[in-house]
Amino acid sequence: MNPVYADHIATTPCRPEVFEAMKPYFMEHFGNPLSLHDFGQTARDAIEAAREQVAGLIGAKTEEILYTSSGTESCNFAIKGMTHAYQKKGRHIVTSSVEHHAVANPVKFLEKNGCEVTTIPVDSAGRVDPDQVARALRDDTALVSIMLANNEIGTIQPVAEIGRITRERGIVFHTDASCAVGNVPVDVEALQVDALSLSGHKFFGPKGVGALYLRKGTRITPLIHGGIQEGGRRAGADNVPGIVGLGAAAVLAREEMNDRVARVTDLRNRLISGILERVDEITYNGHPELRLPGNVNIAVNYVEGESLLLLLMHKGILASSGSTCTSRALKASGVLTAIGLSEQACQGSLQMTLGPGNTDAEVDYILDVLPEIVSKLRAMSPLYHRKD
């Protein structure tokens, strides 16, 4: 049996159409878009066509798309670059307690280097309250950065409401949509954001390429200075095949969006309701509806996440966990703590993230296998015994 890949949040494979689109740009059309000659023109045309495709996926204007190397780079670019560009307003940043490291860590860096940071907490479903954001805004607020969808619990934030507030106050607003774009409909006009980060490998595009949407007129200081790529705002040789792949992934996502959402939501609902039927003492984390279609995040009481992953892997099921032991930094997930999970419950964290390539049979298989695995581990757990 092929492995059941239930870790789409970690990364996704390139779709064959994406790889086919990229292929000619490695050896045949290998020119540098900055070159004046024909090879350069071919490359330039390719990345400009992709820019239109990426813009089309999120309702942006073509010239509002800047290429980067990852969602993380986009977030760093937005956070450091906009804070720097708007420093005359002040050095206060508003963010949430459930941001990905790609946002939380540059914010922490800026905090150490003279910025002041207000971190908005979330409720037990992982949602930020827009009113709290409104109250946190100050005259010296340079930037608000609140994610669109959470990579662990899948919760989708009220970004449009926050966008309305920041726009009223004339404060620039970045949203990290790295795991949302391509998986749920995203429209920068509806969201009223000034900047938005996205990442190719989260929606069947290639690794090594991301983009930053930057609303026309929004100022930003480059993170990578150098040549005149991206209008001088993001220097460095263009990753032409990667960019072409990002464009192709954007086209597929746009075409398939409704199907993807419907199909993956259905798989997810079958998976979570099946688990809740078959296994007791489970917490289903995140918001029941306002969540990424494929995201199933649970806490399995009395067992530890890495053991769960290993036994699942032994059965050919690839998933992830927010437990201490599965984190290379040996820290339990901050997101699970932020929604109020006990530290012990965090240890039993299990995340399965489905994609449109998963099948009903795969979901059935997970539902077959998981209860036994949990029983086996609980039988070994001194904590489970205690409880009886």
């Binding site: 530890e304 053991s307 290993l310 036994l311 032994h314 032991c325 530290e343 015994h385």
Partner: protein, 128 residues
């Protein structure tokens, strides 16, 4: 995965899982809020560990270490069992990833606590 074959073998097929009825000693180490918890039961006959069981809440290496150390303890005198170090356990398992070495400490510590528990229950003269 990051584990040796021996670790995976013990993890998949852990030896001595469970508890003993009326154990002679019980030791528990670790803390569920920050990671692993190991509990070891021992049966002592003539100063020797005649039987040994574990229950563990923890990652793959924690379970493998529990399985391994209970195997190592069985048949050993209390003194010999007390001398088992975390390095002994790790090396019997073909090594552990660096960030997992702290787990192997838990095993030796839980075993030591079980032996101490046994000794604490005995009249003083027998403990000599």
């Amino acid at each position: 995965m990051l584990y040796s074959e021996q670790v995976m073998e013990h993890f998949m097929n852990p030896r001595n899982v469970g508890e003993l009825e009326n154990p002679d000693g019980v030791g528990q180490e670790g803390n569920p809020t920050c990671g692993d918890v190991m509990q070891i039961h021992i049966r002592v006959v003539d100063g020797t560990i005649a039987d040994c069981r574990f229950k563990t809440f923890g990652c793959g290496s924690a379970i493998a270490i529990s399985s391994q150390i209970t195997e190592m303890a069985k048949g050993k005198t209390l003194e010999e069992a007390l001398a088992i170090t975390k390095e002994d356990v790790a090396s019997q398992l073909g090594g552990l990833p660096p960030q997992k070495m702290h787990c192997s400490n838990l095993g030796a510590a839980a075993l030591r606590k079980a032996i101490e528990d046994y000794m604490a229950r005995r009249p003083a003269e027998l403990v000599q």
